[in-house]
Symmetry: C2
Subunit: 351 residues, 2 copies
DNA sequence: CTCCGCTCGGGAACCGGTTTCCGTCGGTGT
DNA sequence: ACACCGACGGAAACCGGTTCCCGAGCGGAG
């Protein structure tokens, strides 16, 4: 009484071998490779495989050294449009290169991040890509350095994307996009439109991405021989809420400005809402610019002038360099360029 | 000459055992469990582990039956805000339940989807969650049914989210959100504002999500004894571009309407831009509503009236039921409710 | 002072594959 | 007709863990 029902809740290679009347090695050979197997045997084995709907256990293969390599992508929150873009790039490139890709949101929890990286080390992931700015404290450097070493000694590799680089000698690949340069170009554009008092809606004061953008803001002023009013730079975080809150506050306090530059498109979106609520017209009454060029930037009204960051390409690049590099190679530090994209939210002032 | 350098490119449990002067079983016990081990031995082992920075290979553990289970999430494009929301929910819940979570974007490619599901079966994933509408063809049903059976026979489980359910008896959990009901409520709201000719910007004609929303649109009209002009329902897809294109066409063709309901917030965003380009005021000249309540809906100007779909909760629910259910349990079919959220883009007409 | 039982740790089998090593078989060259 | 060679397939070792099974000590009870 052969049970032909799909009972085979978990068929092993030996089950298949038994059914085909051959040994396990033969099944493995038929499935795996280029080893000479007679046509008759191959047919019998393949039939058994088909009948049992057999698929070799990927974990077992991995442990035997023949497996799909894995790659991990760690971010704060997949919901952020720029992160999502990067994730997309990472994921595409990863499985173009035949890698599995697992994603983890840390919700900004350092503990969680650490835990996950450890788990990836256990999975023998080929590389771990960490993305998202952070405060550049010595605690950060030590912690990250430890991760890098430990991954490296396990034959894996850590890639930092848009994160503060570690000291020299750390087995890390760092890929940054040019925050300062982008902000510089953007603010220069705003200033070139005749604006003289431009409000800066920044991020957390110790967050390197925020710092870079703020530096660009300042540098652009200085390059014109201007010294921006310190009261014009506000700190919050990178959320829409922060933009909304900061903008309301600025309006309420009667700050004077003719343009506002937000550290993020999300912040800009919040600011825009606040401006609208105050009955102000953008760009008629005040110009507004963002940063990141998330897809939605062009859907805002007016379409947002912003800085384009090649997030998806960034993701692809991250996996490419991560997988190309071996443990012995020297560390690498890439800086991706950005460019401002002019839309409708910034116009000349003093009309 | 003991090399204390972190040469241990790949230390096994036996290496640790050797260093600690015990057997591999003992190391395993110290690390793993509650098995009685003397304090002295434990200390020695732990020291060796620390010195070698050892982490047990997760794949080996998995194969031995002690491992972090895995769960897969397959979607079209992580870049879509609603998908990202779901992914977030899935991911959070997955690792709250101690599961690893891998994500795969299929770019809408059926071949790729199939391939990935097969790979997940090889990984012995605890469950595979498939999300995103599709055309409900017999080819679709057969293909999906095959996936379901094959996963089920491997002790895994397929979860369909917002996808056309299969026939009865398929080992599948289906979770849908109420497209028809949501659209009905939304359109009813629009009609209650006095609008009589409302344009519907739909999706692909064979896409079940699009169909559901269109049915709701029609039903809301009929419930008022109205029979909407067939010329008022346009088909495209769920992208911003589609909304933009459709809206321009409608305007150009001189279609008459006082409100437009888009099948998606993205479509609404595109439509809004087209409306603005045409010099029309929203909601002054024409009202506009979307569907999905993606986070950006409230950043549009005017803030978009739309239907809230609990995407994140949907994701969480998906993994919860997927993991709760065993192969023997009957299939399950959940329908999540939605509700319209009234913002500023729809107002009374005929003022 | 024995005997019993409990604590502790080692050996070996096992998880599900791959690969090396070797033996067998059939066919060919001389 | 015999040696040799290449094709084929099985047994066993291995990958890196876990766990069952068992034996060695040790302490306490009788």
């Amino acid at each position: 009484m052969t049970r032909k029902s799909e009972d085979a809740s978990r068929s092993t290679i030996r089950d298949v071998a038994a059914r085909a009347g051959v040994s396990a090695s033969t099944v493995s050979r038929v499935l795996g490779g280029v080893y000479p197997v007679s046509a008759a045997t191959r047919t019998r084995v393949m039939r058994a495989v088909r009948e049992m709907d057999y698929v070799a256990d990927a974990r077992a293969k991995a442990i035997a050294g023949v497996g799909t390599p894995t790659l991990a992508f760690v971010l704060e929150d997949i919901t952020g449009p720029s992160f999502a873009l990067m994730a997309h790039g990472v994921e595409r490139e990863a499985n173009r290169l035949g890698h599995l890709c697992l994603v983890c949101s840390t919700e900004g929890d350092v503990e969680h991040e650490l835990e996950f990286v450890e788990m990836m080390r256990a999975q023998r992931a080929a590389a771990v890509i960490l993305v998202g700015g952070a405060a550049d404290t010595v605690e950060y450097r030590e912690r990250t350095r430890r991760m890098a070493d430990s991954l490296s000694s396990a034959g894996s590799r850590l890639v930092l994307c848009g994160r503060p680089p570690l000291g020299p000698g750390a087995p890390v690949t760092v890929i940054e996009y040019d925050n300062e340069g982008g902000a510089y170009a953007l603010v220069a554009h705003v200033l070139s439109q005749g604006h003289r008092r431009v409000l800066f809606l920044g991020g957390k004061a110790d967050h390197t991405t925020a710092q870079g953008r703020e530096r660009g803001y300042l540098a652009a002023h200085r390059a014109r021989g201007m010294d921006p009013d310190p009261a014009l730079v506000l700190n919050g975080d990178f959320t829409r809420d922060s933009g909304h809150r900061l903008m309301r506050r600025a309006l309420k306090e009667g700050l004077e400005f003719t343009a506002v530059v937000a550290a993020t498109d999300m912040v800009a979106a919040g600011a825009l809402t606040a401006l609208h609520e105050a009955g102000l017209d953008v760009p008629g009454d005040v110009s507004l610019a963002g940063y990141d060029d998330i897809p939605f930037a062009r859907d805002l009204h007016p379409a947002l002038t912003t800085v384009h960051v090649p997030y998806e390409e960034l993701g692809r690049l991250a996996v490419r360099t991560a997988l190309g590099r071996t443990a012995e190679d020297p560390a690498e530090h890439l800086l991706l360029g950005t460019h401002v994209v002019v839309r409708d939210s910034v116009t000349a002032t003093g009309s």
